[in-house]
Structures are given as structure tokens and as C-alpha cells.
Symmetry: none
Subunit: 253 residues, 2 copies
DNA sequence: GCCCGCCGTCAAGACGGCGTCAAGATCGCG
DNA sequence: CGCGATCTTGACGCCGTCTTGACGGCGGGC
């Protein structure tokens, strides 16, 4: 469900927004100060922030900058100030839209939908931002953005044992290796670590959740499966390396 | 250079916008009718459109829909109408922002920067191929602008199992496949993703609205119907691919 | 040289996701 | 007011995935 963070010091308006948004099926969190807003945003990870500029503790621009320091979450600003100056400042600080009070609830909701729509398509296109999205070895290619693994680097690996469904691809072309969600997640964590060692405990936390930490047999299971699917000779791993007694590491040659 | 398309029938305002935008370093194209706007947009591929709703030839919503049929270009609407109703209609039709006349040039420019900034993160699109209005496979053709699907690629697929109503079309000619609104919407989202994976949640958000996110059975239902209508062998999908545990993907071969 | 712990492997059962079928609800149209 | 098309919702069975346990080999420590 879409999470909205509403930041406003007027109890009245905060309640009204909360009720209206919840009625539309949004998951709403409320904050009444800038500090509380920043904390809630970090913890709650909202999909959109509705921010009143007239907060008691922090200046509006400070809140926007505090958010923009680490997140691209869409921000709709509410303000009683109609002046152009204020709008320009807020928008250039990183806000996505600016609505002057008093405003109609229908308009705000429509602007909210428009902003969410725009942000959603943007987020879907670039995974996070920058960062290496494709890691290549001489036997396979891991595409973190597209969430895919393709067999075939410079010198194509051996023919895959069984590929029934996919039409015959030209030799040397990229052929997809199907991974289950958990397999992918394990591989992703290792690849994102960029060659650094990942302890068993870290892996379990990332993939299975914080309440796991001792189930090392899970890792043995999934590392074996990944090696079977990715390594040229699974018995002698070249890429998915075991560090005995510590954890695992992805080596990109 | 960033290209802006300005659509307005008032000569005065058109000129003012043109001058101001050019002074800021934008590359500006001008149109004074809806028809001209659509044509210029297709040819010129602007990075943003500023659209006056009070055009002589076409209704404002028509112009927005005409653009949204094939492009995600950001649209800022100008209008003399202050009513909420008009704003909601325009924004829900696909506009990104709505500015009422008279407006301050500084505010418009700030809103323009904010909208461009938000849209830019999406600019890192798959290699220049840009936005295709028509996507073709060897069994059918999806026309995003015309909102149609035609059976027939190079070598026409087998005869459809049950097509009673349509008159006998000449062999190899394009025959339209009728899709319901929801079917079309699902297909459109998948095709627009351009081969990238779309999670179940994203699909539900786009098609059914943000308050949906867990009704995965809807997707099963509609994906099955689309496969029945589009796939040569619905039991073994070639185009509408399931990524188990994650979502769906459109594969254009 | 023996014991113990860690790791790779195999196998089986539990579980949940996915495709499918089917029926009711809803809406627009004649 | 009745009909058809479409959307919504529920149920069911199959299959792939996940979970869990057990076994054997290998190496290191004592």
C-alpha cells in the first residue's frame, strides 16, 4: 500500500488530511514538527510527503533539504504564502509541487496522484541511482537493474544442459539463466558487496530477515544451487568463493 | 539542449513564453492549435510541453490524451479556469502540473524546473530507442498511439480459435484483436516497461490504483485472458512472461 | 593419529504461488 | 426492463520453491 507522510502543525488540518487519505486507501503517517518528520521519513520510508512549510521548529527549506539529502521521495508543499518568491524557493529546494492554503481536497488529491504517477515511472526505470548496474564475468552477466542473469561473456561458456522453452538463439548470444527469488536475492547481496567478504550472518539477515542468523545450512543449500547454475565447474568455484569459517565472497575475476 | 513545446492560442502569451524560455537557454517550439501541437510533439520530441487548455480546435483533455497515448513527456497545463473540477480532470488525464492564469513567470519557470527535474531521473532510458509508439512481434502488433492490437506480423499466426464476428479479412492483412479496457491497460503497462520486469504491486498500482497491491489474483485473471488473445500457444507464453514470485515482463523477442 | 567441526550434497515434506474454472456483481445499452 | 459484456471475487489443483534434516568428506586442532 502506498505510504504517505503528512507533516503539519495544525491539528485540524492534519486530522482532515489523515482521514481523507486513509479513506482513499493510503497508508498514512502523521508528524507535527520538522524533526519528527525527518525521523519518521527515515523509519517509515513513505512513497510521498505532504509538507506544511509553517512548522514551529524548522524552516521549510531545511526540512526539504533534510529529506533531499538522502531520498528522492516526492514532496508536495502546503503553504499559506502566495508569493512567487516562496514558491520558487521551495520548488528549487527540491519540492515537486506547491499548493497554497486554503486548498480544495479534491485538487490536492489529484496533484498527489499526478506526482505519484510521475515518480513511480521514474523509479521503475532506474533502480536506485548511478551505481554499477551490470557486472560481467567471462561466463555470465549479472544485470542488477533488470534483475537478470545472462549466460555468456566474452568467450561463451559451455552449452547449457537443458534449455527447452527458449527459442534457438544465435551462438554466443545472451541466454537467460532463470533464478528463483531467493537465489537471486543471495546473489544480489554478494554482487552488491563488490568483491568484499559477506559473513554468513549478514547474508541471512539481508535475505531471510533479522531473526535469522544461525541457519548456515540455508546458505550451503543456496550457494550450491547458484554454483550449479552459474559456475563452469561447480565443484571448483571461480566466482562464488567460500571463506571457511567466515562467509562468502563474489569474485568478478 | 532541453526542448520545450509551448501550446497557446493567444499570440501575446505565446510570444512572452517563447522569449522568456529562450532567454533561459531552452530550445522552444510554438504551436497555436491542438492539432498542430500533436503533430509538433511527434516530430519534435520535446522534453516538456506547456499546454493552454483553451484551444480553439480541440478540448484540453483530448490534447493530453493524444499525447499520453504514446509518450510520457511532462505536461504543464495553463488555464484560466480556477475550479477544482477542471484541475482534477486535467491532472488525472495525465498532466503533471496545473497553473492558473494569470500566473507569474518566475513561478512557472520554477514549476518547469521541478517537473523537468523529476522527469529527468527517467531520462536514463534504454538506449536512445526512446518511446516507441508501435511495438511489433511476429504474431501481433501493439499500437500505443492508436490503442489497438493487430494480429499479424511477418508470417501471420494460426487462425484464432473463435472469431465469429469479424468478416473474413484478406490473408496476411492486419486483423484487430479486441481488448477490454482493463486488458489493454495491463498490456500497455507491460509494453511500456520495454522488456523490464514489472512487479505485481507496480501493475496493480498502475491499473487499479494505489490502494491495490495485494490482489494478485486480478493479475492472474487478466494475464490469462491476454495470453488467450495474444499468445500463439497460451500454455507456453512467449511474450507475456511470468517471473515467479516477482511479477511479469513483456518480451518482444 | 584421532576427534570434532565445517562444508558440500542429497532427499523429502511443507508451503505458497500460479493458472484455471466458475459464479456473482455491476454497468451500459437497446 | 432485459440482455450482454466486463469486472470482481472465490475456490481448487498442480507444480516449483522453500524449508529442514541427515550424511559423508575434508581439514585442523589436540
Amino acid at each position: 500500500m502506498t505510504r504517505i507522510l503528512v507533516v503539519d502543525d495544525e491539528r485540524q488540518l492534519r486530522r482532515a488530511l489523515g482521514v481523507n487519505l486513509r479513506a482513499r486507501g493510503y497508508d498514512v503517517a502523521l508528524a507535527e514538527t520538522g524533526a519528527q518528520a525527518l525521523e519518521l521519513a527515515a523509519r517509515h520510508r513513505p512513497d510521498l510527503v505532504i509538507l506544511d512549510l509553517g512548522l514551529p521548529d524548522l524552516d521549510g527549506a531545511e526540512v526539504i533539504e533534510g529529506l533531499r539529502g538522502w531520498t528522492q521521495v516526492p514532496i508536495i508543499v502546503l503553504s499559506a504564502r502566495h508569493g512567487e518568491e516562496a514558491k520558487v524557493v521551495a520548488l528549487d529546494a527540491g519540492a515537486d509541487d506547491y499548493v497554497t492554503k486554503p486548498f480544495g481536497m479534491d485538487e490536492l488529491l489529484a496533484r498527489l496522484r499526478a506526482t505519484l504517477r510521475r515518480a513511480e515511472t521514474a523509479a521503475a526505470r532506474v533502480g536506485g541511482s548511478g551505481e554499477q548496474a551490470v557486472v560481467e564475468t567471462s561466463h555470465f552477466t549479472v544485470d542488477l537493474a533488470e534483475r537478470r542473469v545472462l549466460r555468456g561473456g566474452r568467450s561463451g561458456g559451455g552449452a547449457s544442459p537443458a534449455s527447452a522453452a527458449s527459442g534457438a538463439a544465435p551462438p554466443g548470444a545472451a541466454e537467460e539463466i532463470r533464478l528463483t527469488p531467493t537465489e537471486w536475492h543471495v546473489l544480489e547481496v554478494l554482487v552488491r558487496a563488490g568483491g568484499r567478504l559477506v559473513t554468513g550472518e549478514q547474508l541471512l539477515h539481508e535475505v531471510w530477515g533479522p531473526q535469522y542468523g544461525t541457519e548456515l545450512n540455508y546458505l550451503r543449500q543456496y550457494l550450491a544451487q547458484l554454483r550449479r547454475k552459474l559456475e563452469p565447474t561447480p565443484a571448483e568455484p571461480r566466482y562464488l568463493i567460500t571463506e571457511p569459517g567466515v562467509g562468502y565472497r563474489f569474485r568478478a575475476e
